[in-house]
Amino acid sequence: MTGTALKKEMDMADIQNSEAFENHASENNTAWQKVCTKADLVAFSGVAAWLETADGPAQVAIFYLPGLGQGKGDELFALDHHDPFSNANVIARGIVGDLKGAAVVASPIYKQHFRLEDGQCLEDEDVKLRTWKVKFKGDEVWVEG
């Protein structure tokens, strides 16, 4: 299956499921919200978004890896834009890659790697970035927060 065909299928799945999560507040007081469109993303890289949540504002790094996992895994990831090692908001500007089987982003400042799936830092097991659920809804990108 080509990457494009795969993407189309996933987009269709998102649209079909969209009614289920749109504006539906979950128990821990989060809600899905639209942050940008697919055109705002950069394939195989990250962008930063500003998120207003019930707990206050948050800066979120959104990564887009089209075709990752050959249809089995996710291709959109959202994690903290804040780099705990430098205290600067830069994670979205790191290089994306895969290490030991996991998709990761490398902090552009001191180069630690964070797993995109769960935010775990590979160099320091005590450090983990916050993650958000993120989905395409058609061409729109929605984050739960």
Partner: protein
């Protein structure tokens, strides 16, 4: 500590310094308070490579230690302070400045050049060749000279002749004996040596005893020989042997040999057990050892004596391997065969290639007693191992000195060496020591060198050491994985070749075809920027194009340098450091408007810090409108070409260094390379642009430009080495084109030219063969490739600000216009800095 004893070392030469290193490295400073007196201005330096002083090295690069070594180690070094007396009764040494008590004293005063008692030997311009100050004097005297003569055709005499040649003097060597290097070679060898040296333009006069030196007619001096023949010259250097500097020892009544030298025993103790002597001042078993390796062995024995160890000095092998005026000369053991009456000789003479080899073999043909080599030292290491380890010779000993093409020339592989084989004689490192280091965890040549110091003295054993280390690593099943990362089982150089040969233009294509299948084929922060750099070097497409942008480090992505708070610094190109007042004003205005902290860089441009991501396009819009272009301060690419003001303004300048710097910077700007590249161009030999600390250094001469390569500042400073001389502008561009492209092609990722050079098999000579003599036949291709890069240059920022798609990346948030509120600045010295 009250029990600390006073240890004084007189002399800060190579051997004295080696003793200090022994004391420091082995914790002896707890016991001894050490004071070192050096008569010279400079701290200990490498006298073996003294002639390189005229080919670009200076006192600092010849120094044997960092400037702060003595102070940091807790040893007091008193330079420019000569000891004038040793008072053995009160146990004090006396200098002009004062009296210093000692418990133990070490004489390491070395030797002085013997100047024959010839009338006129003290005339102006009659000099010696021993210290850096001597070399300064020779250089000064050479300024108004066209001819120079060296008196003495031995090892040091030929070194001095090389130095005079380096100063562009018509050089002659005058030797009393009937051949050059009479100590090391026989008549056949000496004759070959003479031919080779004369072919280099150095006149050789043998069997000449100088009777007197007087005023010349055409030149400053006239030398008159025994048969009233004369030779006129402007400058005379005496290098007719050395004599031990034993005056202090004589004056205080220590036992002195008949022909000089302080008598020492196996412990390096003199006739006064409180006093030791080491190096060329010491006379052991009626012998003075005028080489550095035996001196180091004495230093080790002296250290052992001072710390009640049991290492003794038991004489030393005087085998030497030299390159004099570019001519190989090697001498092993009893090279003349005159100490072993029953010895048999094998000789090989090639009059075409001008090579001479001689073996001195025991009467049963089984042991090597000595050897002599002229013109080619390639078998020296092998022969030395046979000699020093008593390895039984092959059935046909002559095969060791016959040309390789006649077959059956058995090289002694590293595996055949016994554990006791000495690999590095300067630091007395055996093969067993190397094996132990590897067993203790060293995994490469660098690790072994660091642990044993092998090959860090004269460097003569470099090739042998490498082969031993490689062999031992292989024997232990160590396979050094040179893969760039887990995504490619290739080195950077291999990836480069794949990209060139297959014409691969994107990372995706490359990883699909050549990546490791058991990864997600996303790449990583190691291989992606490396491949981005290779693609840019080969095809020079804008790095911000969609296919390339995910490969770039953040600095390349946003074409600015990320600072610790997530803001960026902006550095426009200021080619050669030349900038108009109008452009300076624009920089000031832009900095003011966007609240940027401003600092002048070491590369002669201006760095504007604290730029927010979303302001970068506007900042660049204004800069480009004013005529600036990107400075690539963010890239692994050409940074700056630093220049001095040159002949346009400077009264000393001999060429327009600023003009050349601008030419070069504009030629190579935008070239992506394994690491950053810095240039410097100086308008005269005063070197105000510090070109010799750059990857590419250019120094103006009367006739053109001298090119230096592979220098570095930074963490591991390295002086650039002279690569080519008196190039005209076109030759200079061509040579640099080839050099840079060869570097781009063959270096590892993030490997500066200095490290690349150090790891290049064959070193500078190999590099010269490739670049200057086209030994690989690739120079046309290298030049073409560079021309492509030059022709396809475009300012990346100009490209980006004209493309709305590319500008979309320069938003702090994709869904919000606010700047990142957590970037907080505070004021310091009138400017902003991160809070």
């Amino acid at each position: 500590m009250s029990t600390q004893q006073q240890l004084i070392i007189i002399g800060n030469g190579m051997v004295g310094h080696h003793l200090v290193e022994q004391l420091v490295d082995n914790g002896a400073l707890e016991r001894y308070q050490v004071t070192v007196f050096g008569e010279e201005r400079h701290r200990a330096y490498d006298r073996v490579h003294l002639s390189e002083y005229f080919s670009g090295r200076d006192a600092d690069s010849l120094a044997l230690c960092e400037a702060g070594y003595y102070a940091t180690s807790g040893v007091e070094l008193r330079t420019s302070e000569a000891v004038i007396e040793i008072d053995r009764n009160s146990q004090e040494v006396v200098t002009e400045q004062g009296r210093y008590p000692y418990d133990r004293l070490v004489l390491a005063t070395g030797s002085f050049p013997f100047v024959p008692p010839i009338p006129g030997n003290d005339r102006d311009g009659c000099l010696v060749y021993r210290t850096l100050d001597d070399l300064d004097a020779i250089q000064a005297a050479a300024e108004n000279a066209t001819t120079g003569v060296v008196v003495g055709g031995g090892l040091l005499g030929l070194e001095a002749a090389n130095a005079l040649r380096g100063l562009n003097l018509d050089t002659a060597v005058v030797e009393f004996a009937s051949r050059l290097m009479p100590m090391q070679v026989d008549n056949e060898g000496g004759e070959l040596l003479r031919e080779k040296i004369e072919a280099l333009g150095v006149q050789v006069l043998l069997e000449r005893a100088t009777q007197r030196i007087e005023d010349g007619e055409a030149s400053r001096h006239r030398m008159v020989f025994q048969d009233d023949k004369v030779l006129e010259t402007d400058l005379i250097v005496f290098s007719a042997g050395i004599r031990p500097r034993d005056q202090l020892a004589r004056d205080c009544g220590l036992e002195i040999g008949e022909r000089g030298g302080v008598v020492v025993d196996n412990q390096c103790l003199t006739s006064d057990p409180a006093i030791l002597a080491i190096g060329e001042v010491a006379l052991w078993n009626q012998s003075i050892f005028g080489l550095v390796a035996p001196g180091y062995q004495m230093a080790k024995a002296a250290f052992s004596t001072l710390t009640e160890g049991d290492t003794q000095f038991g004489g030393a092998d005087m085998s030497t391997k030299l390159k004099l005026l570019g001519v190989d000369v090697g001498s092993i053991g009893d090279a003349h065969g005159n100490q072993n009456p029953s010895a048999r000789m094998f000789r090989y003479l090639d009059p075409i290639k001008q090579e001479y080899r001689k073996l001195v073999v025991s009467s049963d043909g089984k042991k090597l007693l000595g050897a002599m080599l002229v013109g080619n030292n390639s078998v020296y290491d092998t022969l030395l191992q046979y000699y020093s380890n008593g390895i039984e010779l092959p059935d046909e000993p002559a095969s060791l000195i016959l040309p390789q093409s006649s077959g059956a020339a058995p090289t002694l592989g590293p595996g055949a060496l016994p554990e006791t084989a000495s690999i590095c004689s300067c630091h007395n490192v055996t093969k067993g020591d190397i094996c132990a280091t590897i067993d203790a965890g060293a995994v490469d040549l660098g690790g072994v060198k660091a642990a044993t110091k092998a090959s860090t003295g004269c460097g003569g054993c470099t090739a042998l050491l490498k082969s031993v280390v490689d062999h031992e690593l292989e024997a232990r099943g160590v396979e050094v994985d040179k893969s760039i990362c887990e995504h490619f089982a290739h080195t950077r150089q291999e990836l480069y070749d794949i990209v060139r040969v297959e014409g691969i233009k994107t990372f995706t294509d490359l990883i699909e075809k050549h990546g490791n299948a058991d990864t997600h084929r996303l790449g990583c922060d190691i291989c992606k920027p490396a491949v981005a750099s290779i693609l840019a070097s080969c095809f020079n497409e804008p790095i911000t194009d969609a296919a390339h942008i995910p490969l770039q480090d953040t600095n390349d992505t946003f074409m600015a340098n990320m600072q610790k708070n997530g803001t960026y610094s902006v550095v426009p190109r200021v080619a050669g450091g030349e900038i108009t007042p109008d452009k300076l004003i624009v920089l000031g205005e832009v900095a003011k408007k966007y609240s940027l902290y401003s600092k002048v860089t070491g590369g002669q441009r201006i760095d504007l810090f604290g730029a927010r991501l979303e302001d970068l396009p506007d900042i660049w819009g204004e800069l480009i409108a004013a005529g600036f272009e990107t400075g690539h301060a963010y890239g692994k690419s050409l940074r700056t070409v630093k220049s001095c003001v040159g002949s346009t303004w400077c009264r000393y300048g001999v060429q327009d260094s600023v003009g050349m710097a601008i030419q070069l910077e504009n030629r190579y700007k935008g070239l992506r390379s394994p690491h950053k590249i810095k240039f410097g161009v100086s308008g005269c030999t005063r070197e105000c642009a510090e070109a010799q600390s750059k990857d590419i250094g250019i120094i103006a001469t009367e006739n053109g430009w001298n090119l230096y390569v592979c220098g570095n500042g930074g963490m591991r400073p390295r002086h650039a080495e002279l690569f080519a001389t008196d190039l005209d502008d076109e030759q200079l561009y061509r040579t640099i084109d080839r050099f840079l492209m060869f570097y781009v092609r063959t270096a590892d990722r993030l490997q500066r030219t200095a490290v690349w050079r150090e790891n290049l098999d064959g070193g500078l000579e190999y590099l010269k063969e490739v670049i200057l003599e086209d030994s690989l036949g690739i120079n046309d291709e290298l030049e073409r490739q560079m021309q492509t890069v030059v022709d396809t240059y475009q300012c990346e920022w100009a490209d980006a600000i004209s493309d709305p798609e590319k500008l979309k990346r320069f938003r702090s948030f994709v869904n919000d216009d606010r700047p990142d509120p957590s970037i907080i600045m505070t004021s310091e010295r009138g400017q902003l800095r991160p809070a």
